[in-house]
């Protein structure tokens, strides 16, 4: 599964463009007031989402955090329903009840996302417990940020996953910031992988600007987990090219840092790599164009769609 042929790699680029186009569109809709709420975008971390999810089966589980549009799309979520959810429309995945931080696309294995930092990590353990109980051989992934590294939930989960040898892959997207403060304001630990090492969980640190490097790490972590050898911790060094949330001017960040990361942009980088590998310029241009037009239509229908029926507000509180 590890080595992808050129066509397979072009598919990865397509998926990355779909995410980039989606997130840029959400940003645009937010600026126009057509999307509201607390919106955290994953622009700059497409390499992580796509690299990891490309190593998964469609029935494997993913649990997202507050910044998970990319994870959902990488796992195969329908962009129409996702856009409609973020815009608070009846046609959304959760009929607008969830919103950007509480998206879900369980039919493709994106089980749920949470707005409570660290809250999703333990949920991934539970899904892994299902896998070992039913022996269906599925793997469970939790995406979380460097800021979640200091939460009690993460540490309890790491220990238990190791103790029970659960098929979980912990993916720490280290973008260097939690909200407005750098990682150095949160911990003196220099390598977040140390957090997993103390619980005897193998770790690897990869460059999130390189989707294929992320993918290789994920493929081996997933294979290990599926083989019953227990959890693994992948630290993806990444970046968010936007503020913490839409509306945050990110004045706390050095401009030079931003410039450096624009150069290491995973989408631009992979695109250049594929060009170098001989993919025709037209084919490459078409990946972006197709994504942008797909997303334009998703946005158009989301904006035009009706809001949920007010009666919806009181449904699904209980099953019966």
């Amino acid at each position: 599964m590890s080595e992808l042929d050129l066509a397979g790699r072009v598919e990865l680029l397509e998926r990355m463009w779909l995410i980039r186009a989606f997130e840029e569109k959400v940003s645009e809709l937010f600026a126009r007031g057509q999307v509201v709420g607390l919106i955290h975008l994953g622009i700059g971390s497409e390499g992580s989402a796509v690299g990891v999810c490309s190593a998964l089966r469609s029935d494997d589980y993913v649990f997202g955090n507050h910044r998970s549009h990319a994870h959902a799309i990488a796992k195969g979520a329908d962009v129409d329903r996702l856009m409609a959810e973020i815009a608070g429309k009846a046609s959304g995945y959760c009929k607008g009840k969830g919103g950007s931080m509480h998206i879900a696309a369980p039919e493709v294995g994106f089980v749920t996302a949470t707005g409570v930092v660290g809250g999703n990590v333990a949920l991934a353990l539970g899904a892994a417990l299902t896998s070992v109980t039913t022996q269906d051989n599925r793997v469970s992934v939790a995406f979380f940020g460097d800021g979640a590294g200091q939460s009690g939930s993460l540490h309890e989960s790491l220990n238990l996953a190791a103790l029970w040898k659960l098929p979980v892959v912990f993916v720490c997207e280290n973008n260097g910031y939690a909200e407005f403060s750098p990682l150095s304001a949160h911990t003196v630990v220099e390598r977040l992988t140390d957090y997993a090492s103390v619980y005897s969980i193998p770790t690897v640190t990869v460059d999130g600007g390189d989707v294929m490097e992320v993918r290789r790490a994920a493929v081996s972590a997933v294979a290990r987990a599926r083989a019953g050898e227990g959890p693994m911790f992948i630290e993806v060094l990444t970046h968010r090219l936007r503020g913490h949330y839409e509306g945050d001017p990110a004045a706390y960040r050095e401009l030079s840092e931003r410039e450096e990361w624009t150069v290491r942009d995973p989408v631009a980088r992979f695109r250049a790599e594929l060009e170098g590998a001989g993919v025709a310029a037209d084919t490459i241009a078409a990946t972006e164009a197709a994504a942008r037009s797909r997303i334009a239509s998703a946005a158009e229908s989301a904006v035009a769609a009706p809001g949920p029926d007010p009666e919806e507000a009181t449904t699904d509180v209980y099953a019966v």
Partner: protein, 324 residues
């Protein structure tokens, strides 16, 4: 006199108390260098320095644990839990340690702590960033509970909370941050356990809290147009509860409505309804009315959020439709 927003009143209130007590420490996530995610704590780091104004990691249990330990050993603490929803992440500290330590030690320790937290809906943040959870705290013996509705009350009640020897959970409403008022210069110190009658009336007592206060006031204007004279009480603190002000009012008006942002079951209004039903039963001319959010987690979509949180229309319509 100066015009001040609710948001800026928070930092003024904290600064007032930090100037007064050189031991008082303030902790929270992104509260120091960044001035808070709601910009309620801008300038405190500059004035009081990094020993007394500290940024923490995203470690709510450690934040409140540190607050409790420091408070018990002589350093009073204001601790911020960014969104009140996240009190759930550190509820052991809230419910089992901070609330109970004085009692369990038979008063040998004191916990002068103010847990400040952003409460309430209106921003389309969805089910985990919008709740009104003052009831979670009201039901725990040992905690005091404060929820100001105006900039001046933010300062005065902050002072009262800091100076109180007991732990206080101080709910700041996200949707009131931008509201402004003219505030007197100098120190402002208020008292816990004192409700405020904002509008006198003769036909019905409307009791409200935080964001529901301006809505109850607007509803009272509309009710007046329909010939109903409403008295509006801003509770300001749930624990201690100013039962006298409520009962005196109901004795005169003969009717009671509560306006609560919380989901219906076990809302503070149920406690007040039970109090009034018992203490002022013979003064009541009509059944007590509770206007609340339905018993649901909060939806994110604009129209759903608007349909669920009590609005001026809903307050007026409910009171009018119940008027027999």
């Amino acid at each position: 006199m100066a015009e001040l927003s609710y948001r800026d009143a928070v930092s003024r209130g904290i600064a007032q108390e930090m100037r007064r007590d050189p031991n008082l420490v303030f902790l929270g996530e992104d509260v120091a260098a960044a001035g808070g995610v709601f910009k309620t704590t801008v300038g405190l780091l500059d004035e009081f320095g990094p020993i007394r104004v500290r940024d923490t990691p995203i470690s709510e249990q450690a934040i409140l644990g540190a607050a409790a330990g420091a408070a018990m050993t002589g350093v009073p603490v204001i601790a911020e839990i960014m969104f009140s929803d996240f009190l759930a992440v550190c509820f052991d500290l809230v419910a089992n340690e901070i609330a109970k330590l004085r009692y369990m030690t038979d008063g040998q320790v004191s916990l002068p702590i103010v847990i400040r937290t952003a409460n309430g809906a209106g921003s389309r943040f969805g089910a985990q960033h919008s709740q009104s959870v003052e009831n979670w705290c009201m039901m725990i013996p040992g905690l005091k509970v404060v929820a100001p509705s105006t900039p001046e009350d933010v300062i005065g009640l902050m002072a009262a909370s800091v100076r109180d020897p007991d732990p206080v959970v101080f709910f700041e409403h996200k949707s009131l941050m931008a509201t402004k008022a003219t505030i007197p210069d100098g120190e402002i110190v208020d008292e816990l356990g004192k409700a405020r009658t904002l509008r006198a009336g003769t036909d019905i007592t409307i009791v409200a809290l935080a964001l529901m206060v301006p809505r109850a006031m607007a509803a009272a204007d509309r009710l007046a147009e329909q010939g109903i004279s409403a008295e509006v009480i801003d509770l300001r603190t749930l624990v201690p509860l100013d039962t006298r002000t409520i009962l005196h009012s109901v004795e005169r008006t003969g009717r009671l409505a509560t306006v609560e942002e919380n989901p219906r079951l076990c809302g503070w209004g149920a406690e007040i309804a039970s109090l009034v039903a018992h203490e002022a039963f013979w003064n009541l001319d009509a059944p007590i009315v509770r206007i609340t959010t339905p018993h649901i987690p909060l939806p994110a979509a604009n129209n759903l959020e608007d349909a669920t949180i009590p609005s001026v229309d809903k307050i007026v319509d409910t009171i009018v439709s119940e008027w027999a």
